[in-house]
Symmetry: C2
Subunit: 391 residues, 2 copies
């Protein structure tokens, strides 16, 4: 093994940046320092903990204001948000949906919930998200357009949508992907589960797709315990999303009529209350996360064989989950490094397993995935909680 890079050295660098003392340093833990308590207690005091209550609306308003997307519909988690985005994009039984092989399993599962077929595409080294150039060449090869619809020539199934995942908070290069979507009649959905606080060019993520999904799980930049949101600039889609996520009940003071198969995807008021407290201090959170990223970058700049991943020139990232990329010759150090950091109480993790390797998605169509395969071997996520960086 090359002397230039050794596990012990990386562990000691991490310990330094993280000012490691006793106890575990999780990958990402929540911070409560805003009005979370006051809002949550207000729910208990008034009895409004559930589906009715003012915090759901307030949280939706704050989300819309913060992101600049016109409409936000709070839901029970990011997976539910993805499900409804795909449904509203028109994904039905047997339709294909293009999404990166390098993503969290929820993105692909949500396609299956609609009866759709995930179709896996490769990633870009610059963004960790979909590689637009490769996607373009691939679609040119495998598709045909008939009556304004895109078909996979091999399977003869319609291809309906592209899901751009902003991996670890880093924005995908959206402009070329939008051009591809236009050319191939595909709906763009942003899986922005990890990207609250991340900007592509001058606009917040979630503004570019027809619909986008956010997550407020406990490991995200802000949390509602469990929670998510659907964002869209389209009023009709927003109304339909609200309707579908609240059992498709037709409004009436007492009668119970539902006009389609709907879902109970409401975010409870108590969880929304937590979210209101959190989003009010998100600017601080992002500042601290960017400071931490800056420190990591500084420290790892000197180290040969490993790179701290930084935002693309077009992006301003929330640095939700920081990562190191091992050079090709050091991929063998990944597992020893994961083990050593865990032993030292510094929680790290490798890439998700690529989607096409999971038993239930083995038979799904895919392009050449060489960049994703490569990234899978090289990614190591490192602690990223708010509070690890200075204010």
């Amino acid at each position: 093994m090359n002397r230039n890079l050794d596990v012990g050295h990386i562990v000691s660098l991490l310990k330094n940046v993280l000012k490691k003392k006793d106890g575990l340093i999780p990958l990402h833990q929540p911070t409560f320092r805003g009005k979370e308590w006051a809002y949550v207690k207000d729910c208990l005091d008034t009895g409004w903990v559930s589906s009715v209550g003012k915090y759901v609306g307030a949280f939706e308003k704050k989300l819309a204001e913060y992101t600049g997307v016109e409409h936000a519909i709070a839901v029970v988690n990011g997976t539910a948000a993805m499900h409804i985005c795909l449904k509203l994009a028109g994904v039905e039984e047997g339709d294909e949906v293009l999404l990166p092989a390098l993503t969290f399993v929820a993105t692909a599962n949500a396609v299956r919930y609609c009866g759709g077929i995930p179709h896996f595409v490769d990633s870009d080294w610059k963004s960790l998200g979909i590689d637009p150039k490769k996607l373009q060449d691939y679609l040119k090869d495998i598709t045909l357009i008939r009556q304004g619809c895109c078909y996979n020539k091999q399977t003869m199934r319609p291809i309906k949508a592209v899901v751009a995942v902003h991996t670890f908070g880093h924005p995908v290069d959206l402009d070329p992907i939008l051009a591809i979507c236009e050319k191939y009649k595909l709906v763009l959905i942003e899986d922005a589960a990890e990207a609250l606080g991340s900007y592509y060019k001058d606009k917040h993520t979630g503004n570019w797709g027809k619909l986008s999904a956010f997550s407020f799980n406990g490991n995200k930049i802000i949390t509602t315990g469990g929670g998510g949101a659907i964002l869209t600039n389209d009023l009709i889609l927003a109304k339909t999303a609200k309707h579908l996520t609240t059992t498709a009940k037709v409004p009436h003071p007492w009668a119970f009529v539902h006009d389609e198969v709907g879902y109970n995807y409401r975010l409870p008021n108590i969880n929304a209350a937590l979210g209101c407290g959190q989003i009010e201090v998100i600017d601080e959170f992002i500042q601290e996360k960017r400071t931490l990223a800056q420190k990591y970058r500084q420290v790892f700049k000197e180290v040969q064989g490993i790179t701290f991943f930084t935002e693309a020139a077009y992006a301003r990232s929330n640095y939700w989950l920081n990562l190191l990329l091992l050079d090709e010759e050091y991929v063998g150090l990944r597992d020893p490094l994961l083990l050593a950091t865990h032993e030292e109480g510094i929680l790290t993790r490798p890439s998700w397993s690529l989607m096409h390797k999971l038993a239930m998605f083995k038979e799904c169509p895919r392009m050449d995935l060489s960049a994703a395969q490569d990234l899978e071997q090289r990614i190591i996520n490192i602690p990223s909680s708010v509070g690890l960086g200075e204010k």
Copy 2:
């Protein structure tokens, strides 16, 4: 209209029982008087609000202890619980599932989430749930058994399961339904969303079906904001339920491998904390609800033309949602009564619309539904919150 029954008189009786002053009396609002705040605050103090944390396990343990069902899996709501119960019962694309037409829409929606076809059955005046006698006669007529499986002779689709809904907390007559399930090779699932604290004979509801679903929505006897649980006495099903509801992730300290299409149906820790506080005082809640029911019964005993619905001889009900039944000749008073009570700030509601009348379920198979049709015209739910009865 008959002089014996008038809307004004009923409103004044309700006002009396409810000691109505200013302000609204909701149909069912939560009460927090246990350790809810201490537990929720503990989540905020420790940062454990989300998918990891001690309250989920604690709540599951308390549920199992309280109901006497061996395993409880906390989930995000009752609809999610129903979905997983049906999936674990083997309901797949094109399978039929027998369920009452008189139920909340979630029961039927959950069948559709599995790709199944709801098949609507009639209700019993004694329980408001499935009529066993009618079900027996119907199945004799329309089914055939081939290789240990039940088929609908008309549609030639497999019939997989029966969902017994304990309507408004009142237990269905389960013994004859179990006998039918055995005879016709059907899996019994209890939709006990409304029935925490309700007993059939000597055992808590949820012990009789192979699987059962509970809800802790804000309007239920105890609440977690939003929440639910799957209960089962079968260890293998319990483990599968936990796996499926937590994204089907294969346990590992860091690797992300998922071995089937799973769901994010976890109950967040902060919601489970609320549930722990609630279930600790459920005995008080039930006592108060039964006292209120007793008062209603007393008062309406004197009134001709309307009946307060009480538990069957075999049951001990939680009286989750109290109801009045109008006599046949007074069904015309239902809407005026709903209107008059709402105007007085006493929130009441009619029956759910029967499932086969909803646009998306119009084409579903069904038996003669005369009892359900009749009940739909006659049911009026009246305020039932804990705290309206004496301690």
